[in-house]
């Protein structure tokens, strides 16, 4: 899948180079047109921010894509009816999904770098801006730029390719810290996975994907419908359970979440289940009483198995900005988190907040969600993630 991705990217880069080589002003007028089309308060054309304005246009206009990208584009327009039926995914999905990130981020960065043959303060400022635009976050951005500077100074390099390589190395280093796959400890029966997060990040969908994944690995999986608050959340999980033929332990909406999960553990033990995945209601991390309820869930299930939960996953919406940091901090206070899942990376969001989370908390990133189907969950790979972003 990476091959395909690189091919596509190369074409794009070639195109860019052509553009750049021909006339620099070409790019300028493009950017101008885009800026004029997108919003009245336009910026000078060399401005990286305006370049990024191209994102949605690039992504939706088929005319702008190269022939090599065609299959990917076709994949995007899978009819909704098929999506709903859970059509099988394609190998190149991740790269295809993440290439949207790449389209605007990597391409723009390369373009920018090839325009500037010399390293100067402006270049670093533009790099900084580009990273900020990708939701990388101020702290991580400053750190990365500083390290890039140092490594260039140390090795006495001065061309823009070296900047690109150094940047990639720095990002990979950051991203690799949190690349630790989730390993199911088979001595735990069941291995309890507690899934938490704010409202609307995709917890229930992620659970369905996880359940399918472990089931296909030959594990006996059970789900606990611990979201007893939101209307029809129990039904949503049950529907997934029916589709994937996985037992769902549920009580009615309004029941006590902790007791639902406790009972599910008892049942999972009795039925020799390998994995029990427990859903919880979405809650804003600022609501003290709801966070206490989460603490209670841990306390209660520890009465059933004092090593549980064996994994506490926080689900983060890939489109979230710097608030993701606050989310992880508060949830981590209530229940020690052992893993992160970043969802909705099939859209235009760049997921750059991952670098910031890695720098600040170092909690392993286990999976990334790249679509609505139950197969659209990938193990997180730092190299792939960074490649897809900047290569």
């Amino acid at each position: 899948m990476i091959n395909f991705f690189k091919k596509k990217n190369k074409n794009k880069t070639d195109k860019d180079k052509l553009k750049t080589d021909a006339v620099t002003e070409q790019v300028t007028s493009d950017a101008d047109a885009d800026a004029a089309a997108s919003k009245p308060a336009s910026q000078p054309a060399h401005d990286a921010g305006v370049m990024n304005q191209e994102i949605p246009i690039d992504a939706v206009d088929p005319k702008q894509t190269t022939p090599a990208a065609e299959p990917a584009e076709v994949e995007i327009v899978v009819p909704p009816e098929l999506l709903a039926q859970g059509v099988e995914p394609h190998q190149y999905q991740l790269s295809q999904q993440l290439s949207k990130t790449n389209d605007n981020f990597g391409k723009k960065m390369k373009q920018m770098l090839s325009l500037k043959k010399q390293i100067d303060e402006d270049l670093f400022e533009e790099l900084e801006t580009t990273l900020l635009m990708a939701d990388v976050g101020a702290t991580a951005t400053m750190e990365v730029i500083e390290k890039v500077r140092k490594s260039l100074k140390r090795r006495n390099l001065s061309d823009s390719d070296a900047v690109f390589d150094a940047l990639k190395a720095q990002l990979t280093e950051l991203a690799q810290v949190v690349e630790q796959p989730l390993i199911i400890d088979e001595s735990k029966q069941p291995f309890v996975i507690l899934v938490v997060g704010v409202n609307g990040v995709g917890k229930t969908t992620t659970i369905a994907k996880l359940a399918r994944k472990y089931k296909s690995m030959g594990k006996k999986v059970m789900l606990a419908a611990g979201d007893t608050f939101r209307a029809a959340a129990v039904e949503q999980l049950k529907t997934w359970g029916e589709r994937e033929d996985i037992p769902v332990m549920a009580q009615k909406t309004g029941a006590d979440s902790a007791s639902v999960i406790f009972d599910a553990m008892t049942s999972a033990k009795a039925h020799n289940m390998d994995v029990l995945i427990a859903d919880t209601a979405g809650r804003l991390h600022t609501q003290a009483n709801l966070m206490q309820e989460l603490e209670k869930i841990s306390r209660v299930i520890q009465k059933n198995d004092d090593t549980a939960p064996h994994e506490t996953l926080i689900v983060i919406d890939g489109g979230t900005g710097q608030n993701a940091i606050s989310q992880v901090r508060e949830f981590n206070k209530a229940n020690a988190l052992s893993g992160v899942v970043i969802t909705k990376l099939d859209g235009t969001p760049k997921g750059g907040v991952l670098f910031n989370l890695a720098a600040e908390f170092g909690i392993p990133v286990r999976f990334i969600g790249v679509g609505e189907k139950s197969t659209d969950l990938k193990s997180y790979k730092a190299a792939e993630f960074v490649d897809a972003i900047i290569d």
Binding site: A134, A138, G200, A232, E235, W240, G321, I325
Partner: protein, 452 residues
Amino acid sequence: MFDNLTDRLSKSIQKIRGQANLSEDNIKEALREVRVALLEADVALPVVKSFIEDVRERALGTEVLTSLKPAQVLVKVVQEELVKVLGEETSGINFNAQPPVVILMAGLQGAGKTTTTGKLAKFLKERENKKVMVVSADVYRPAAIEQLQTVAEQVGVEWFPSSVIDDPVTIGMTALQAAKKGYFDVLIVDTAGRLAVDEAMMKEIKSLQNSINPTETLFVVDAMTGQDAANTAKAFSDALDLTGVVLTKVDGDARGGAALSVKNITGKPIKFQGVGEKMEALEPFHPDRIASSILGMGDVLSLVEEVERKVDKKEAEKLAKKVATGNKFTLEDFQSQLLQMQNMGGMSSMLDKLPGMSNLPDMVKDQVNDKSTGRMLAVISSMTLKEKRYPQLIKGSRKRRIANGSGTTIQDVSKLLKQYNQMQKMMRKFKGKGMMKMMQKLGGKLPGGMPF
């Protein structure tokens, strides 16, 4: 590690405060701070840039040079620009159409469309006195239709049944027919969450919009969204004829930069904001208030309104009478005060809305702990009626019993009694002087230069 936008802006403004004059240089630094702060607040970069440019132009103009207090002027310029970007006035739902007025909800997955549909239905039913019908055109997400059904039952509005085997356009048309026949004032059409880059899904909602011809098409956006808010808003506003925006999950601690981005990109008013999990947690969006709170000037107007809405007037009057006549302030009164406070979302949520509070050290904020309110209520609830009225009765063994009954310690009970005594003393002071004098004292502590 991260300051919120309010803190950042207060700091950057303070940097100028110490200096006699505004120069190109010191304003540059302050604006750089504002820029970083806005970026950290997740305002999209293009929006940040145009914002900073406007502020710079205005700040370097004569208004600043002729002013005696440059800092004040800059604060004012920044605030006015913020208000300008956010939209200058509140606008509700447009009812200038032949009923049923159709409202179409659109947005990404998980933005809160279904919850907002329920909240909006309740809002229109109760505050605008409208006969509301809701229908779900989300045939993709499992149990989405059931979710809307449950929500509709909760808020007591008509739910029009739809089925996952139907096409969203058909669902919309059928519901519209039914709404006409049933003489409904409003039909709210909930839709599936969709990515802006998903062409098929965007085409679907376009044709839904064309066929039901909604008076309002509301774009629902999560206040926690990052830089992508700009991309998404642009794509949705290009594809659909948007008439407004609903900002959700505003009750979190997100800095809400998405509001600025979306407003700026779509040019459409932010009509409502979602402020909680409950169905009544939908408010009209107040741009001036948000801009003020961004600048650390507090959201006093919202606070006043909230207090008015939530305080039990009878209870308050009873208490006021007691204070005025100098009658005894008992533990029962104390209890009802604590309950009122809890109804308003607790002390910390009230503090957030007050001006200057962002400068309080976190330690102080932590002391105003809503947990202790709950504990105090528990202690009082474990007392007998007699004890509440004659607290001086409470000695050793009663304390032990109360502590056991409320699941607290004897120290907690003693602490509560001490606080009660202090309250009582304060109440006696009120009797003569009244609230005004007290407020004047407080007024001196408010940050200077704020236009109140």
